[in-house]
Symmetry: C2
């Protein structure tokens, strides 16, 4: 038996207990929980086969009461001794995509981001669309290209047309960008015709992950009217390997900023679900931005209520993300198109002026939040840009 050491100030203490899917060389991926710098194999430690699977989906589908029970049992377990065979150092395991993604929806919930993008994509027009303060604008993304942190990102090719060009050309994206976001994972869904209310949020959403919604701005700008972004986004979306349980985020709850005009009844909340999560974005190891999630206009409970208000079902494994997190200050912007104002105002990265991503660049997004006993960590979502391939073109 082993006693798990939790280092002083660890972001992965008993107040966090994020779930992931891990494997060691020669073994099958299975569910683990991170404690300090260790990963505990839950199938072994709790003797339950629901954790002996390569995704969290079966466990998530067991529902809220079960999530509470397992969290409590893990706490008891870790306070005592854990079987040796259940404990691995986090550095010796490989982390996999933690859940099978059902549908993926990306929102647009930061007023600063939506205003900045409006100014950049539609110069001279009102930056916020008339609907923006009435509903959380969102759209479906490609679930099949959600990848786990550490997956290399191949620079996408596609059609691009600059405003001063007569016709589009085909080639690699010259304006490859990131979007730092927080994603929410549906644990138990709802059938067709049974909308979820804002109050249903904590019983249906299992947890949260960090999201980097890689974006090819030149492809996006040319394609996105009138049906929205498609190939400018669908090549890859990276998520962090650890799913922080919503149960770990009680101490992070804050009100959203004031919503004026007042929202329609189905979007009102009786309890606040804004979240005080502090993000940091690093570009080749240098921190360039600190987006504040607490400034997001729409809460994740409002997003869930909106997404199902038309009767759409939700499923275990549905992922919905906040959209880029940007604060009011320049160094709080969660996308490089905003941070460099469309490439016109380079930022200095390791001594070099930089705008969009170059081949070989690596971006790492991390986040922390207040927990029940000290801050808790979301881990990281990281990706490196590989050159475009010329296959089949």
């Amino acid at each position: 038996m082993t006693t798990i050491d939790i280092p002083e100030g660890s972001l992965y203490g008993l107040g966090n207990l994020p779930y992931g899917v891990f494997a060691t060389p020669g073994t099958a991926p299975r569910v683990g929980v991170r404690v300090g710098d260790s990963v505990v194999d839950l199938a072994v430690a709790l003797g339950d086969d629901v954790f002996a699977r390569p995704s969290l989906n079966a466990f998530m589908a067991q529902g809220y009461d079960r999530w509470v029970e397992v969290r409590s049992r893990i706490g008891d377990l870790v306070r005592g001794d854990v079987p040796d065979a259940a404990v691995f150092a986090v550095g010796e395991v490989e982390l996999h995509l933690p859940f099978e993604v059902a549908d993926y929806v990306d929102f647009y919930a930061s007023e600063h981001h939506a205003s900045n993008l409006g100014r950049l994509f539609r110069p001279g027009a009102e930056p916020l669309m008339p609907n923006w303060k009435h509903l959380p604008v969102g759209y479906h993304g490609r679930a099949g290209t959600v990848v786990v942190s550490g997956t290399d990102i191949v620079r996408p090719c596609g059609q691009r047309k600059a405003p001063d060009e007569d016709a589009p050309t085909f080639g690699e994206s010259r304006r490859l960008d990131i979007e730092a976001e927080l994603g929410f994972v549906v644990g138990t869904g709802t059938p067709l015709g049974s909308p979820l209310s804002t109050a249903d949020f904590p019983r249906h959403v299992f947890g949260a992950v960090l999201v980097n919604d890689w974006s090819a701005r030149d492809i996006q700008a040319w394609e996105y009217v009138p049906l929205g972004p498609h190939l400018g986004k669908s090549f890859a979306t990276s998520i962090s390997p650890w799913v922080v349980p919503l149960l770990a985020l009680e101490a992070a709850r804050v009100p959203t900023p004031p919503q004026e005009p007042q929202v329609l009844p189905y979007l009102r909340e009786s309890e606040p679900w804004g979240l005080d999560v502090e993000f940091a974005v690093s570009w080749n190891g240098q921190e360039v931005s600190r987006p504040p999630y607490r400034e997001m206009y729409w809460s994740p409970a409002q997003m869930l209520a909106h997404m199902t208000v038309n009767g759409a079902s939700a499923r275990t494994g549905d992922l919905y993300a906040s959209g880029t997190i940007s604060g009011a200050a320049k160094d709080q912007r969660g996308a490089f198109i905003e941070l460099t104002w469309g490439g016109q105002e380079p930022v200095t990265v390791n001594g070099e002026p930089r705008t969009f991503l170059l081949d070989g660049d690596e971006v790492t997004i991390t986040a922390t939040a207040p927990g029940a006993a000290g801050r808790i960590g979301f881990g990281e979502v990281r990706g490196r840009i590989l050159p475009a391939t010329e296959a089949k073109r």
Copy 2:
């Protein structure tokens, strides 16, 4: 043993052989093929467990050579005698969703439809966006709400704002509509970073289904800027239960209309993949439109090449649909918003002037195409409108 009778002029002769998932009372759903007015249980008839599953996915994932082989074996089988236990009358089986939908993309490939919608949604502006003739515009829809023909459609609620109203109101959609489309099912996908060419289309796409992309125009018109349609579409998309193999559509192949300006090289085709599929739309039993698929500007091979050109992977079960099929003539329009010109020009249905869908209305979309030996049928996609529910609001 039984000899399967194929009635003279049947749309389901040996040149068709569409696959579906069926069950009889008290038995589990499994894969069958339609022959005349019979359904043949393929697990029993061919003695292969890949067909003893509740979806076509495992069979589709076996790939093109296997699709050819099984089609040939079914032909041989049906020309001889089939075990009694493998044969059911089509009227005695229940048909299920034929495959698990991975990602769902909806295109916008009819020039007539895109022009009509442009005039209706953006009066006074150029109807076609500048990108429209350069790329097949498309967006992701909600995979989790794809339902099989016959599923009732509950009228969705949501935010609507008429141009003359100051603020949106919440309530049931007053402009509920259909979109008659043809959908394509990916049999074998491609990994991240390996785009499919137009020539790859017949080896990767397994077959085609009829699609009714139910659309709440009032919800859509208010929400869709700038990120595209979301709740105006995500409440339900109906598909036909029979997947017509692409192998059955050789005789239906036609060139697309001339594409001018010339498209970029990755969208060019060495062989035509336009399809001469004739649709019919019935509203409460009365035919109101005959959309001609052969007039679609973009081919499904071009859609597939476009969808993956940025390196996006494709998966077994991906569904992509053409967008509304509309011809040049008024009675060839595949959506009621076009057929009634935004509700200003009612059509007469069973003696009554009608615009958008009322509760209790039923819409049935059918289609046929030339086959190797006589016309082949796609079956139908049918749905009835139920009143909005007031649950949880």
